[in-house]
Structure formats: C-alpha cells, structure tokens
Symmetry: C2
Subunit: 505 residues, 2 copies
C-alpha cells in the first residue's frame, strides 16, 4: 500500500462515517414528515439536533484537514477526473466551506432558522408580512455574514450562497441565460393568452379516488425506472425525495381526490430525483463520486421525467388507456387529446408550486432578482412586498391580493435557502439540453414512450449523468454530455414547439 | 448551585445524550421492520452499527465513571427512593455492567449474534438442529464468559444474565414460584383436557377483512388508553413495541384475514407495553426514573391488558356488538358466549407464541429449565433437542415431530437472549397480583369494562407503576403496590376460576 493509498483510505473512512451518521438524520426527518405522531416533535428535534452536531463535528475534524493537506501534496492521486482526485477535491470543498463558518454563526443560523420558519408559518396564515419582517432581516443579515465568511470570487456575495447549491455557478452566468429566456417567455405567455383555444381543465378536478391514484402513480414510477426494491413512496404534506444511502431512496407525495395533477406529476417529479439517487455509485457513498453534482442537475432529472416525458403526448398514448380503466367515471368519455391539453394548461398565476411548465420559470426569475438585491443590500427586506407585487404585475399582469399569495408563499427565505431558487430554472434548461442529446443518441423517444419503453432513456441518464456523481460540475457536465454550454435555447424551443401546436400559435 | 447539583446536572446531561443517540437507533430499527425496502438492509446495518458504537462509547465514557464516584460521596443526594438517588443508582448499575464487559467480548457477541441469527433462520427452515449447533455452542460459551465478567452473587452464573432483564431477580427466587405453579398448571391442563366441553374455534378462522380488523384493533387500543397523539400502530412481520422517547411510542402488529386473534390480541398486548411506555415520566428520559423497571413488569402490563382485560367476558360485553358490525359475515350469527369461549380455547400445543393463557407458562418453564442447565454446564448444547422433546411430552403429552416446531422455534438463544424467557411468566404472575390490587382499590372492574370504562384502571397503573420508572425493583414494586411479595397464587386462582367456569370443571 502506497502512502497515498493509506492517506486516501483513512480519509474515505472518516468521510463515509460522517455521511452514514448524517444519513441517520435523513431517516428521522423522513419519519418526522410521514409517520411521526404529533407529540413526538420535541424529542425528534433533540434527536436531530444531536445527530447534526455529531455529524458536523466529524465532518470538520482537524484530522480530515490534515489528511487532505497531505494528500494534496501527493503526485500519484490520478488525473483530475479520476475517482480519487474527484473525491479529494470534493472533500476539500466541503471541508473548507464547513470550517470557514465560525461556530457562533452556524449555531445562530440554526437557531434563527427554526424560529424564523415558525414565524413564517404564522405570518403566512395571517397574511402579515410585518410579523415576518424582523426574521427576514435577521436571516438576510446572517446569510450576508455567511457569504463573507465563505468568500467569493467576482465581488458578488450572492455567488457564495449560490455556490452551496450549484457549485461553480455565478449570478452573472445565470443572468446571461435568464435574460433572453425571460424575454422569450414573456412573449410566449402573451401569445398563449391571446389564443382563443383553452383546455377543459375541469376534467382534472373530477373525482379521482385515492386507491387507483396510488396504483397509477406507482405504476408509472416503476415503468420509468424507479426501483421499488430500493425505495418506496409514502405520503407527506410537502412532497420530497430523500436518499438514505445505497439501496434506500424514499419519495413522498400527497393525494387529492379532486385534483389529478397533484399526486401524479408529483410522483413523476420525485421519481426523477429518485432515479438519479438510485443511479449514484453506492460504493462511493459519502464521497464526491457518490453524490449528486448540483441541485440544478438534480432538478433537471425530476423535470425531465415530469415534463419532457410525463407531459408529452406520446407518454399518454401509452398510459391513457390505463388511466381510463382506473378512473372510468372521470376519464371514461374523455378523448386523449383533451386530457393531454388539460395537463398542459398554461395560465399566469400567483403560486409558484402550481405553475405550469411555461410560466414557472418567470416565478423563479422574480425571486432570483429580489434575493440578489437583498444580499447585495440594494433592496431592504421591508421593500420586498412592493417589489414582488410590481414584478408579478410586470410578468403576469396580475395583482397580488395578499402577501400570503405573494412574497410569503415560499418557505425558502425563512429557512435560509437563499441562492436556491435559480436551481429550479437551471434544472429546466439542463433538462431540455439533455433531452435533445438523448434524442440524438437514442432515436425517436416519442415512439419509445408511446410503447411504454423508458429503459433506453433511463440507462442513458445513468450512464451519462448519474454514475459520475460530482466528477464534473454542472457546467462541465452539460458540456461533456451535450457538447454545448448552458443555454436557454433548447428549453425555449421545446416550449415554443409544444405550445404553438396546442394553442395554435 | 451546590456541588451535588453541579455533578448531578453534568451526569444527567451525559446520560440523556447517550439515550437520545440510542433512541435514534430505535427509529431506524422500527423503520427496518416496517417500511424499509429490501435493498436498504446493508446500509441500515452500517447506520445501526455506527450509532450503537457511538452510543456505547458515550455511555461508557470515563467522565461518567468520575461523576458517579464523586456523586456517591455526596451526603445530600436525597433518600434512597428519591429521583436523584434512583437515577444515580441506576446510572451506576448500567455503567458497571457496560464497563465490566471487555471490548473484545462485546464485539464478539455482536458479531456472533448477527451470524448466529442468520444460521438459526436457515436451520429452522430446514429443521436442521445440527446446522445451528455450532452457533449455539459458541453463544453459550460467550454468555458464560459474559456472566463471569459481570459477576454474580450466589454462585449461579445464570443470575448474572437474568439480572440484565429482571434486575435483582435470581433463578432460585423464580424456581420458588415456578415450582408450585408448574404443579398446579399441569393439573389444570389435565382437567381441561378431560372436560367434554370444547369451544367452536372455527369461528375465529372465518374471513376477517383487514380494514375492519384495523378499525376494531385501533379502536380497542384507543379505548384502553393508548394515546395516538403520542404513538401509532404499523405492520411488521413480528409484532413489537418500541418507545422512541417522550411523546412517541410505536406499536406493530400483523393482520391475517383468516385468524381473528393474531392482530387483535397482538394489538391489545403491544398496547399494554405502549401504555407503560407512555406513562413513564418524559422529563426523566434517559434516567432511571424514566425507564421501565424490568422486562417482567413490562410484560405484566401487556398481559394484563391482553388477558385480564382483553380475554374477559366483561370486555366483550362492551366490544362484541362493535365486532359484529365490523364482521357481519363472520360474527353476525355468533352468540357472544361462544365467541368468548373460542378466544379462551385451551389446548396443549407445540408453539409458544400461539399458546393460550394456561399452557403458555409451561412453555416458559421448559425453556427456563434448559437454559439454566446450559449456562451452568449441566447440559451440553448437543443434548437440547432430546431434553426439549422429553419435556414437551411430560408437560403436554405431545410428541415433537420436528425441531422446527421444537427447540428451533424461538429466536432468543440465537440472539443471545439467555435469561429472558422467565420474564414472560413472571409478567403473568405480576399481572395477576396487580389485577387483584386494582380490583381492591377500584371496585368492580368487570362492571367498568362492560361499560367500556378503562380509565380508572389505566390511571391506577400510571399512578402505581408507570410513573415510578426504576424507582423500585420489580420485586419491591410488587410489594409496594400489592402488599404481597411475588407469588404464583393470584395467577393460578385467576386461571382456575376462569377456566373452571368455561370448561365446567
């Protein structure tokens, strides 16, 4: 065993242990949101707090720093894209980020997040922004401190926060693609609004009994490749995907008897995340190669299966007869094309999580613009409602009747997740780019979907994206896989083509 | 703050942390047995192993030993039954037991247990005792070593193992009550076998659809006082009760469409454990006062609700009309007395977990006799099948057709649980003693049950038993609560009275 082998083996053992410990917290969080009885909340908070503390202690142990420094001086780690070099690079990245934050700041962020989220819940219920304002101010202050502690390159503190979710990405790079996308989307939305065609959306709010909803959603999840021997789907108030570790990935959804989309497309979306998670190399658990490369890439996988597959006509050529059998009263007499149009209804709306494929990205841009200004100091937290409402009018032509449906609708800022929103729209762009590349490699995907054949696409994603973990940054991965850099083009082409046909533009 | 206060506060913080950590393992074990997908087993074992290691490290940290030694020298801890004195005493007990075992032995026991359980599963499937024999030999050897390391008073190594489950109890003390109980039971079983009366047990294997089974079992659990805001019931292959901590206690059961007893009495049984757990003082979590005093007392609570309440005529006066509504086809035309007789069918059988209230204790005695001899060295593991089969003939008049239905039926020995079996029968005796005392204090319990009134009994148990945690040992608790010491009398009186009436003896 060489010196490098020894050091590397010691390092990976420490990293794995920290990851195993933190994955125990994932199990507890999942249970908290799925099955935990109400009175268990206090003890659960204690359990999670203790686990997080021990995991953080281990992840920041000076021993890891020593091993990294020594390893970085070795000359035989392998080339920059090799597993070992990637794992060392990513360990350094995580270690630096975690050790740069002073303990006081970590603790204050943790405490503030808990209280701020509680304040947000109450403020949203009461549509009372002033009740949340002090918490937003405190949170913005702490996140600015975090950005200073972590450091940033181009003089933009926001980049330091963004980097936590989308490593290597900058606000400038995002703005480069958001800017043309914004212009194109506003035009497309306007054209759709001027169209005389409208889907019969009432179809989707008929009675959809829960049991056949479960059967259809789980059947679709299985069909596209989510492995139920290594995962499952439960119910929670807010859908999520949580990978516990090799062989165990949990998805959740919620069922609404009078809203077809909620559970079905929720499951398609989370299954996309789950398929990514299940495609990560299990033997690299806790190491860079075993981890998703960015939130944007994660989101590209969920959006690809939810929208590019799940909202395509060819997919419903395959699945609609099954849906009609499951819901004879709701869908028995509905032509497939009417159903397909209904699930692709586009209309400006106030709530992000209910938005369609086209307007969704505008919701993201609005938030991205505001949070950048909050972090740079160009906007004061007290001015958020006015700025929000103005942008909603500008992008959607809508008046915000209450902050509950406006700037208080999302949990993110109360939870300290600043720099997170843009990854949703990046995901849509990456998905469109990957989809084109997959079509180029795999031939007529529509023909495959209409026959219920999803394995080629799933295995292509496994091969091109999943198995690499963090080998490539999101930016480089897109280049390696598609031959092009991040671009808004494929997404806008996809949307224009699809919706021009539907709305007769 | 006095020096004692300071020391005590430091000690309890360390103990609580170790307990919180170990309760994280409880959540993961529960999930493993209820929801975990098959492929998650490997990672789950890693998670549990790591958590157990850290929890053990913390529970045996030298700092605890130092604090205990200092505290034991203080004169102002309070009297021996005070919370503080009890918590220090119990911390010492646990600390000594854990630190007396050499690390090598702990690790070998852990490794052997995993492999031995796997070997047992295969051996039972193949009814092949010789495949299990080497593991049984190894396990007995390790448990004898454990007894030596822990130490024991009266020259009986078995007592050191028993003490882990039933603190302070000795084999001699158990034999003192088992001996007359054995004689009485054998006579009672013989008398029942000579009776010409037989219940129509076919009633219980009619079709019992799962959904109304869940409704009835959960309704009964709630009625007797299990708090669903602080607990829930899920499904698992082997029913259990696991308290995660204050406000969160999980029960499990299994549903069989053609066997009424399995889920219903399983839930009554686990609810008894759960009500004890929910009655422990939550603010003493991790300390002696917050823990069940012994397995025997725990079992007394499950048996009391399962048998003394759940298999009583008065209970079914209350619940049978509801059961008939839930299962109109199975029970619509069944007279209540026939149902009551059927759920109290007594017959000698080979399998412990399916045994009735009367013969059950004989199953325990047989195991107790054998395991004592194994630990003392008076019996060799190779001789277990012969000894087992001889005792089954002696107690039940039955021939054991296969070791799978004989000495290979229970998981306990393969899991290293030697000294555990007698606590089941102790639980039955304690239950009978508590039940008499409760009747004395609360008046006509049968009248209360027939009206669906269970709160007085539940609150009496909370007050007399649950809230004390480990304040009193099992032995002393029985004396404090009932005014009598451990005795077989109340149990045999209960059984004789009940079954004489049923079988016309």
């Amino acid at each position: 065993m060489s010196r490098t082998d020894e050091l590397y083996s010691s390092l990976t053992q420490l990293l794995r242990e920290a990851a195993v410990l933190s994955s125990c917290g994932s199990v507890l969080s999942w249970d908290e949101q799925t099955y935990m009885p109400a009175n268990g909340a206090g003890h659960r908070a204690e359990q999670l707090g203790l686990l997080a503390g021990i995991a953080h202690e281990r992840a920041t142990s000076p021993r890891i720093g020593e091993l990294l420094s020594e390893l970085e001086q070795q000359t035989d780690l392998g080339d920059a894209d090799s597993d070992r070099a990637v794992n060392v690079r990513e360990a350094r990245r995580t270690f630096d980020r975690q050790t740069k934050l002073p303990r006081r700041l970590v603790e204050e962020l943790s405490r503030t997040t808990t209280m701020s989220q509680q304040a947000w819940v109450g403020a949203r219920e009461d549509a009372d922004f002033t009740a949340f304002l002090p918490w937003l101010e405190k949170m913005i202050g702490l996140k600015r401190e975090e950005a200073q502690a972590v450091g940033y390159g181009a003089g933009v503190p926001y980049d330091a926060l963004l980097d936590d979710y989308e490593p290597g990405m900058t606000a400038a790079e995002i703005e480069r693609v958001f800017s043309p996308l914004r212009d194109e989307l506003v035009k497309l939305v306007a054209a759709i609004q001027h169209s005389s065609r409208r889907p019969e959306v009432e179809i989707l709010s008929r009675h959809y009994p829960k049991t056949p909803q479960i059967v259809l959603a789980e059947g679709a999840s299985k069909a596209i490749g989510f492995n139920f021997d290594a995962g499952r789907i439960d119910e929670s108030a807010h859908p999520f995907c949580s990978g516990f570790g090799p062989g165990d990935c949990r998805l959740t959804t919620r069922y609404n008897d009078h809203h077809f989309n909620s559970a079905f497309f929720g499951v398609m979306h989370e299954s996309g995340h789950g398929i990514y998670d299940q495609g990560l190399p299990g033997d690299s658990f806790g190491l860079g190669i075993g981890q998703a490369t960015s939130l944007g890439i994660h989101e590209s996988q969920s959006r690809l299966w939810e929208n590019f597959v799940g909202r395509s006509r060819s997919f419903w050529r395959y699945l609609f007869p099954t849906a009609q059998i499951g819901f004879p009263k709701a869908l028995g007499d509905v032509p497939m094309d009417d159903f397909y149009f209904a699930i692709n209804d586009v209309r400006p709306s106030l709530i992000r999580v209910e938005a369609d494929e086209v307007t969704y990205n505008l919701h993201i841009m609005l938030r991205f613009e505001i949070e950048q200004q909050l972090i740079s100091g160009a906007m004061q937290p007290a001015d958020v409602p006015a700025a929000w409402n103005e942008k909603v009018m500008k992008y959607f032509g809508l008046t915000v009747p209450s902050d509950a449906n406006g700037c208080l609708q999302d949990i993110h800022w109360s939870a300290g997740l600043l720099g997170y929103f843009p990854t949703y729209a990046l995901g849509n762009m990456y998905a469109a780019q990957f989809y084109i590349a997959a079509q180029r490699d795999l031939g007529d995907l529509d023909d495959q979907f209409s026959r219920g054949v999803f394995r080629p696409l799933k295995e292509w994603l496994n091969e091109k994206i999943h198995r690499h973990g963090k080998r490539y940054s999101a930016k480089r991965l897109v280049e390696v896989v598609t031959g092009e850099s991040l671009s808004h083009g494929p997404l806008i082409t996809h949307l224009r083509t699809k919706y021009s046909e539907l709305y007769g533009l």
